[in-house]
């Protein structure tokens, strides 16, 4: 009863605030992790982290960059790079153009030049709205070019991963992007470049098994699922249930694969500190 009234009061407040023109939605959104509904307004204020349980819901690449970069510092790189269909896979082309329509992305990665508190870096961000952020030729090429560009300009490289792994529809060409991207970040790093790898929910398969695991600094968002094989495949293989929290960021931290877990609201501060500690891109 009490809850009903408080919800009603909430809605009234939202409605009145909307009339002031600063809020545009009275929508409530259900958390896919805890199942609880919260006003979209609270999700927005919370950078799309569930106000009830703290679940870091997946977000788009541009939204992420807009929350991290200094205003006015965003310059997109390689924005013409578009996907290919090397296997002539049934229905793949139409799927790609459908997704381009609905997400505004050409493929699952965005790369950009930007600044955090004045410090310049090259960013690449995977977007799980586009075929689960899977890595085909366009994503591989974008990550490789970002690493090469960062190397040439002697800038640090920051990559946010969110991916189901290699993209099935591009077959073996997707697999080869693992070798290509791993080689590109390793070449960048051996030239003295700083590479910060930021893992977000979910990061699995061929992305985990290539550039995403190679950061000089390894960070992750709370609760992010990170692994090579997916939990369902593992359960089918070993025929037993996996322990609570298996393959979550906290679990990886405990097992020595991360430096730190970074809540979404703290990325800017943490990245700023790390970039400052490596001023001149790690070169003295």
């Amino acid at each position: 009863m009490n809850q009903t009234f408080s919800r009603r009061r909430d809605r009234l407040l939202t409605y009145r605030a909307m009339r002031e023109g600063k809020i545009t939605s009275s929508r409530r959104t259900r958390c896919s992790a805890c199942g609880e509904e919260s006003p979209q307004l609270e999700w927005d204020r919370n950078l799309q982290v569930c106000p009830r349980c703290g679940f870091h819901a997946p977000i788009g690449a541009y939204y992420r960059l807009s929350n991290i970069l200094d205003p006015g510092s965003f310059q997109e790189l390689e924005d013409k790079l578009s996907p290919a269909d090397p296997l002539a896979f049934p229905d793949y082309r139409s799927k790609l153009s459908e997704l381009e329509q609905s997400t505004g992305l050409k493929d699952a990665a965005v790369s950009a030049l930007g600044r955090i508190e004045g410090k310049k870096a090259v960013f690449a961000v995977l977007d799980s709205r586009f075929l689960m952020g899977s890595m085909g030729t366009a994503v591989g090429e974008k990550v490789a070019r970002a690493a090469e560009y960062a190397g040439k300009k002697k800038l640090p490289l920051v990559i946010f991963s969110a991916s189901g792994g290699a993209r099935m529809q591009e077959g073996i060409f997707s697999l080869m992007q693992m070798a290509k991207t791993a080689a590109a970040v390793q070449r960048f790093q051996s030239g003295g470049g700083l590479y910060i790898s930021c893992l977000t929910h979910p990061t699995t398969g061929g992305v985990t098994a290539s550039f995403a695991s190679l950061g000089d600094i390894m960070l992750a968002e709370p609760g992010a699922l990170i692994g090579f094989a997916g939990p369902r495949v593992i359960e089918q293989t070993i025929k037993e249930q996996l322990p609570e929290g298996f393959q979550r960021a906290e679990y990886l931290l405990d097992h020595g694969f991360l430096d730190r877990i970074v809540p979404r609201s703290e990325w800017r501060a943490v990245l700023s500190q790390l970039l400052a500690l490596h001023e001149k891109g790690g070169r003295t």
């Binding site: 290919a84 490789a144 290699a166 073996i172 080869m176 290509k180 495949v233 593992i234 996996l242």
Partner: protein, 274 residues
Amino acid sequence: MSRYTPEEKVKLARHPDRPGTADFVDALFTDFFEQRGDRLCGEDGSIFGGIARFHGRPVTVLGHRKGKNLEENLTCNFGMPSPEGYRKAQRLMRQAEKFSRPIITFVDTPGAYPGREAEERGQGEAIAQCLALMSALEVPVISVITGEGGSGGALALAVANRVLMLEHAVYSVLSPEGFASILWKDSSRAGEACGVMKLTAQDLRRGGIVQGVLREPEGGAHTDWQAVFRTVDAALTHELAALDKLRGPALARQRYDMFRVMGQNLAPAGREEP
């Protein structure tokens, strides 16, 4: 050449009597000294390797091992490596570079093991480190895909200056069963998946993924091991002689450039950088 359908080739590639890494090591090398362990926490029998002589010359040789009988299958985990295996491989390859030995790898795995402990010890990281390490090695690296080239677990030993493939071997982003189950939620459509995946040696040669296809005897590699050994021996000798003309940094550059362009010609270049 293509009397077999892709689906039939997958069966041939998985044939239990096909020569495996240990058989190639026995037949083509002398003075083999096996190296074991990752020096961190364990030994993984699914990756087999060590130092040997190839026509008198010291080389490092390694590859996936499936085992020939049930007991061996179990110690080799059916050729599905854990992180310890990949870290052992890294150790052997680093040592090869230190002592200027060429590296020869034999690839034959359904994929890296999807198990609980493997994940806990960083399966993804172990594979990623293999890829990064191999991409920069300043010694010649030749890989031969002899049977199943399954996913990242295969690629982890195949970032080579030359990737060769037996005529009926297969190499793919995932097993046809896994592919069908991800894309169509139905692993029984694996046969159909074989058809669209372009996983045969001939398709991969055309796609620029492998640089050579090695003829198998009539009926497949399992019918005449000696013939396969002769073919592989000749191919390795030939490729090694060609790579000997390149110095260390040029070898690393050639390998980097070769993988760098895979899939690149397919995506148009972007606008000029700011």
